[in-house]
Structures are given as C-alpha cells and as structure tokens.
Symmetry: C2
Subunit: 250 residues, 2 copies
C-alpha cells in the first residue's frame, strides 16, 4: 500500500463543488474517485486538502489516495487525465509518505479572487471573474486589506452555517492589485472559513466603492458578527491557487 | 430611418458561428436579430463586418442595423444587453451614416490566436486557447511570420472550400510573442480568407516544433496550394480582436 499525492486544476463551473456528497455524481472528488477506480480497479476515495464551493475553480488543489497498484506514483498524472473530463486536470502526481494527511499538515493556502472592473462584462471571462461595472478605488481596498493580516477571529467573514469549532485564523499575506482591467485579491493563510475569501472580497469591494471606509475593517473584525461585513462575492471569481506545506509532501 | 453601429464581444463556444444560417437559431446574428426585434418590434437583420466560425470568439466584432426606433443609438447598448444571453455583450453602440456598409469600407481587422504551451491544459483556459504541450521555439515562429507580412496570394492558407474570387490579401502587421505560459499570434490585415488565421497559426506552430523551417514559408506561399501549408489550428484559440475603419464610422 502506498499513497499518491495529486495536484489538480479544475474549472468548477459544471460541478457541485469539490467535496464528495452522497447521491451527487457531479463533484470533483466523485470524478477523481471514478478515475482512480478505472485506473487501479480499487475503491480508494481521495482525501482533499480542502473543499471548494460550486462554481469555484482551482489551479493547485491537493488530493491524496492510497493504492496497491503497481503504477508508479508519478505516472498517475497520465493515467488519470486519460480518464477525467477535460475540465479537471491532474497537473502532477508523486509518492507521499503514508502518514501524510493533507488536512492534518501545517500548510499555507493561497486563494485569488478576480474582479473584472469594466462597463460591460467580457463574455470569455464571465465564468472566471466577478463583473463589477461600478468604479472601484483600489487604494481604499489595499488600506482596508491591511487590517486583515495576522491572527484574528474571522467570525464576521464566515458563513453563519459554519461548523468550525474556532473561527481564529491567520492571514500571512494579503494584497489587492489592478492588473489590466482586473482587480486581483491574493490571500494566503493557514486556513480559511466557509465563504471567508468571498466575504472578504465582497466587503473590500464595497469599501472600494466608497460604501464603507477602509478603517471600518477594524470594527467589522471586532464585531464577530457576519452581519457587520459586506456581501458574499459570487463564486466564479474565486480560484484556489495552491498550497505550501510546511513539511514537504515529497 | 437611421443606422446603428454595434461593437460586440462574444464567447463563441456555444454558437454555430456568427453568421445567420437558415434553420439554425444558435448563431450570434440570430441572437442579435431577436434582441433588436425585442427592443424595436422591427425585423431588421444586422449586417456583420465579417463572420467567425463555430467556437471562435470576438472582443470587437462589428454589426450595423437600420431602425426607425426613437431609441437613441447610444442607448442600444443597454437595451440589447438586457435582451441578449450573457455570452454575447454589446460593448458600445453609436449612430453611423446610412451609407456605411461594414463590408464595403476599407478596414483593418485584427485577430489574435492564443496557444497554451504547458505540459497539461489549464481547465479554465481550455475554451480560449489551443493547448500545445510540445515545446515551441517562438524565435522560429517569429522568423517565419515575417514572410507573411505584405501583399500576397494566400491560397496556401485558405480553406479549399473558399468561394472568394481573389486570394490576394495584405497583412499589415504580424507578431508572435510569449506572454507567460501562452504564445500569442497577432495579425492585422485588410481582409482574411476562410480559416486563414487558423492555418497560419497551425503552420507557424509546426515551424516552432521544428517540423518545418522558417524559410519554408516562402515556398509555402508561392505554392498557392492548401496542401503546402500545415494544419488548421482549432477554433477556440482564435479571437476577433477588433476593427480599424479607415473612414471613421462615427
């Protein structure tokens, strides 16, 4: 028995999120599990390092699975891509120690949120950006984002349906930049709550519009109340960019 | 009666090309015509400046239509977008003289062709790039592209089903550049033959692979034979970037 580590990119448009759900065949994990069964004959469900919602994309999602197959771990990238739909791609596979559990390792995870700030939406980017026609002041967003760096209770930026025991998380890096006609929020941390990046993106955008002040962020954080923050930005602007495991998974 | 000029962006993935076809409701022009009928009550088919194939995209396609409506020409952008699917967007509308015919004006048209040169395809760009995993030498493509600038008989770069009376066209600018993990071919000219940009993209890519030499371009051009050139690159990498009418359409 050995364990295989997969880095996976996907277009979340046509899926009901990444996580396996009973009776729901259209999830990323369900497709990965079927591909593994096709490759090895084994029923060996993947363990995901995190879950993404319907419509959210990934460039570097991480999954592991156990197998007794003689297929070398680094060859699974070829075998699985052959068995997966083209909107799910394994970009790399390698062996990983049996005791590596992707949710029990210390890791930094990076998300990007893309806002298309043009008068009219671009049809070819409609599935990968949040189209915001109203002018946005990026400097205001940058000032507001600074309040979020570090360790905080992020209850205000968490969907009320969250079942997490603690809402304390650490954001190690956060930036907002204008790149061409897009505004890109990049955020790295040790863990993220349910809808956390999307609520941060929605709140920062309202600050960029002038609806709220950059230093309101301090009050929003300390309220520990979802109602204090702004809207949840839509899923299609969000992409799970990648992981940095503090202990190398190689 | 007045004439309205529309600049239109679309994602060609879900359409059978831009041009109206009898019995085919899923074309860009069919949707524009239905939206105009919805806005004005008039049956006033658009005239397109050019046609794109199924799966080809546009950022700056041009259409005109005649109307007796009292809707100001520059307001059609709002009215039509309300009536169009979100993968077709009017980006601008304005009045244009009645004698302006978009195919009878001297114009320069620019196309871009995007090649994704990575080992594995990116799911979120699969509909907007040609995924080419094999290494490509861009310098060889650039050298080969130089032979195409200027006035030539482009029969070798034209689908054999072309009904054009002359295959002589002028390319006023052509460039190939690597931008991140993509290779982008930009090509401007006074007119393009059926599949011309896609055959140029396919042939240049084969030269970039080392299958043909850059100076083979001279022989391919002079052969005036489609069989002399390389493959037709797939439609999804192609986007009609925009028009530059020598006589202003304003």
């Amino acid at each position: 028995m050995s364990q295989v580590y997969l880095t996976v990119a996907y277009d979340g448009t046509n899926y009901h999120g990444s996580a396996l759900q009973a009776g729901e065949p259209e999830t990323i994990e369900a497709y990965l599990n079927r591909a593994i069964r096709g490759a090895t004959g084994e029923d060996s469900p993947v363990i995901g390092a995190s879950r993404t919602d319907a419509g959210v994309h990934a460039r570097g999602a991480v999954f592991v699975f156990a197998t007794e197959s003689t297929i070398p771990a680094d060859r699974f990238v070829y075998v699985l891509n052959h068995l997966l739909p083209e909107d799910i791609r394994v970009v790399e596979s390698h062996p990983v120690p049996d005791d590596f559990h992707p949710r029990r390792q210390e890791a930094r995870k990076t998300y990007e949120y893309r806002i298309l700030n043009t008068p009219w939406a671009d049809p070819t980017r409609r599935l990968y950006t949040w189209h915001v026609p109203r002018p946005v002041d990026v400097t205001r967003m940058q000032k507001a984002a600074e309040y979020l760096a570090g360790e905080h209770d992020f209850t205000s930026f968490c969907n009320v349906d969250s079942t997490a025991q603690s809402h304390v998380r650490t954001i190690t890096a956060i930036s907002v930049s204008r790149e061409g006609d897009e505004i890109i929020l990049r955020i790295t941390g040790n863990g993220f709550l349910y809808n956390m990046v999307r609520i941060i993106a929605g709140t920062l955008t309202q600050i960029g519009w002038g609806w709220r002040e950059p230093d309101d962020m301090e009050r929003i954080l300390s309220a520990c109340d979802r109602a204090a923050a702004g809207c949840t930005a839509p899923p299609q602007g969000l992409i799970l960019a990648g992981y940095d495991f503090l202990q190398s998974p190689h």
